[in-house]
Structure formats: C-alpha cells, structure tokens
C-alpha cells in the first residue's frame, strides 16, 4: 500500500499491490486518485507498473475498475489490455456499472517501455 502525493505534497490518492491466491507470479495493482488528479494518476500508473515488474518476480499484473471510473492506464495503450468485462456487475450511484478487468504481462510491458522514445 502507498499514498500518492502531488508536487505540493498533498495526498491525492493511494495505490496497492496484492498477490493472488494460487497464482505465485501474478498480482493486482490498484490505483485510485481524487477527482481532478487523473493526469497524475496516469503518470503514477506507469511508474507503479514498472516498479512492480522491476521489484518482484511478477509475470502478469491485473487491475479492476468500474466502467465509470477513470481509466488510469491509458498512457500504456498497447501494453495493458481489457481481458474481462462483467456487465452490470454492481449498482453504483443508482445505475448498474460494468466491472472491467485489465491485464498486462511482463513481456508486453517491456515491449511497450522499450518502444518509448526516451527508453
């Protein structure tokens, strides 16, 4: 678990990395930021993905969100990909929201990272 701070040191979100039962080389990455801080959240998502793969023997990362939550992983298009959509999974704010599960493998992330102009 970690707290996300902005450049001024204000708390703007949190993130966590948790292992999956029965799956030694996979983990779930959760990142949440306060409304208005989505750009910071997207930057953190890249750093957190990189840190997860660099700092542990994880081969596959997953993340879950509702369809009306901001997607913080869009800066890594081509790496993270939607794997499962559970339609009308839960009632949120008076409407049924889909649950989206996305994943990225170590090799997919490495390919994406190596293709960056600065890499």
């Amino acid at each position: 678990m970690g707290i996300i701070l902005d450049a001024d040191g204000e708390r703007i979100g949190a993130l966590g990395l948790a292992g999956l039962t029965g799956a030694a080389s996979t983990a779930v990455l959760d990142i949440h930021v306060l409304p208005g801080h989505e750009e910071d959240g997207r930057r953190v998502a890249v750093l957190a993905t990189q840190a997860a793969f660099n700092g542990s023997p994880i081969d596959h990362l997953y993340t879950e969100r509702f369809d009306d939550d901001p997607d913080l992983f869009t800066d890594m298009a081509g790496a993270w990909a939607l794997e499962v959509r559970l339609p009308e999974f839960a009632r949120v704010d008076g409407r049924y929201a889909d649950r989206l599960i996305s994943g990225v493998s170590r090799s997919e992330f490495e390919r994406w990272f190596e293709a960056l102009p600065i890499a």
């Binding site: 999956l20 039962t21 029965g22 799956a23 030694a24 080389s25 996979t26 081969d59 596959h60 997953y62 939607l82 794997e83 499962v84 959509r85 559970l86 339609p87 009308e88 999974f89 839960a90 009632r91 599960i101 994943g103 493998s105």
Partner: protein
C-alpha cells in the same frame, strides 16, 4: 458469508431422466471427499492440492458458500458430483458457481445436466441477475454447448491467471444472465420434458 432472505426456503430437488439435483446432506460428505481425492483434479479444484481431511471437510466445503447441491445418478443413487453457489453479492445481485464432476462420470455430461437444473433452481429461488464461473483452459470445452446455444456468455479470458503444475494457465470467465436463462429454449425444453414424466 452473506445470507439471503430466501436462503432458508429453497426447493428441495429437481430431476431429469438421468439425474437428481438435491441439497447436500452430511451423509454425502465422505463420498464427496473421496471423489475429490482424485489426483487429476486436485491441483485445479478449489483446494489447490490441499484437500483437508474428512474431519475438516464440512467447514472447507461451506467456506464463502451459499448452497451446495449434489448431482445424483437416479439409476443407482451414487453421486456424480456437485454444484455450489459461492461468493454471492446480494446487493449487486450476482454470485459465482463451480462444478465438480467425479472421475467416474467425466465426459458424460452428467454434471452439466445438473448445471441446467441448478440454473433453474438459482434463478427460481434467489434474486440474482448474473452467475459467473471461472473455467480453466482445459475445461472450457465443457461450456461449449451452452456458449453455442447462448445460455452462457464468454465474458473474457484472464490470461495466465493461475499456475497449474507450475505452468501459467488462462482462466475463462463465463456468465449466465437471469432473463437470458429464463427465456431460453433449453429451459422451456427442460420444463416440457419434466412435465411429461
């Protein structure tokens, strides 16, 4: 574990010409436990190779579980397997189901027939909108008929989600939606056949 207002009054049993689906009884535990010692499924079934001893089996069986229904062969009264409803979120209106087929009936469709009765039982007794199942890559073929006919929907694939015998394996997510099931030709046919007997 969550409980439903209707969970104390489920229907008792339903049948086809081959099988009976009924609630598990404590007398069934030794047979189910013996079935689950099958080494070909021990790594992929819910205990992930750590099947508890019979004395602890009941508590393990009911963990996060709302209902356990056994599939019984009508001919001889032996158990073919079981279907269980677990990880139910009553507020959201969804839950998960798992199927276990004993080694002596695999490939015969016996427990999948039980699933048909199970769907009717679940949606007839509980206010659930969706039930989901996770199927390993080597088991996804069991759902092919339901996916082809449309009673079940393939909602996606969790790539390399779990390790089986040290190898990463995909997990397919299958969903069965309430209205889709209630209006399915398969259900109508099931009821016609049941009415004739």
């Amino acid at each position: 574990m969550s409980t439903s207002p209707t969970s104390s009054s489920p229907t008792s049993a339903s049948t086809t010409s081959r099988i009976r689906l009924r609630h598990v009884q404590p007398d069934d535990y030794p047979a189910l436990h013996a079935m689950e010692t099958d080494p070909t499924t021990s790594d992929t079934w819910r205990y992930r190779g750590q099947l508890p001893p019979l004395e602890e089996y009941e508590a393990a069986l009911w963990q996060q579980t709302t209902a356990v229904l056994v599939v019984e062969n009508i001919d001889d009264g032996t158990l073919a397997g079981y279907v269980h409803l677990h990880d139910v979120d009553w507020r959201a209106g969804h839950g998960y189901f798992s199927l276990y087929a004993g080694p002596h009936v695999r490939g015969r469709g016996t427990v999948m027939e039980g699933l048909m009765l199970f769907c009717d039982w679940v949606f007839g007794n509980y206010d659930l909108r969706w039930i989901y199942a996770h199927a390993f890559e080597h088991n996804i073929g069991q759902f092919s008929s339901g996916l082809r006919r449309g009673e079940a929907v393939h909602l996606g694939t969790l790539r390399n989600r779990v390790e089986v015998l040290g190898e990463p394996t995909d997990v397919h997510v299958i969903g069965i939606e309430r209205e889709n099931w209630l209006n399915s030709p398969l259900r109508a046919r099931l009821h016609r056949l049941q009415a004739r007997r």
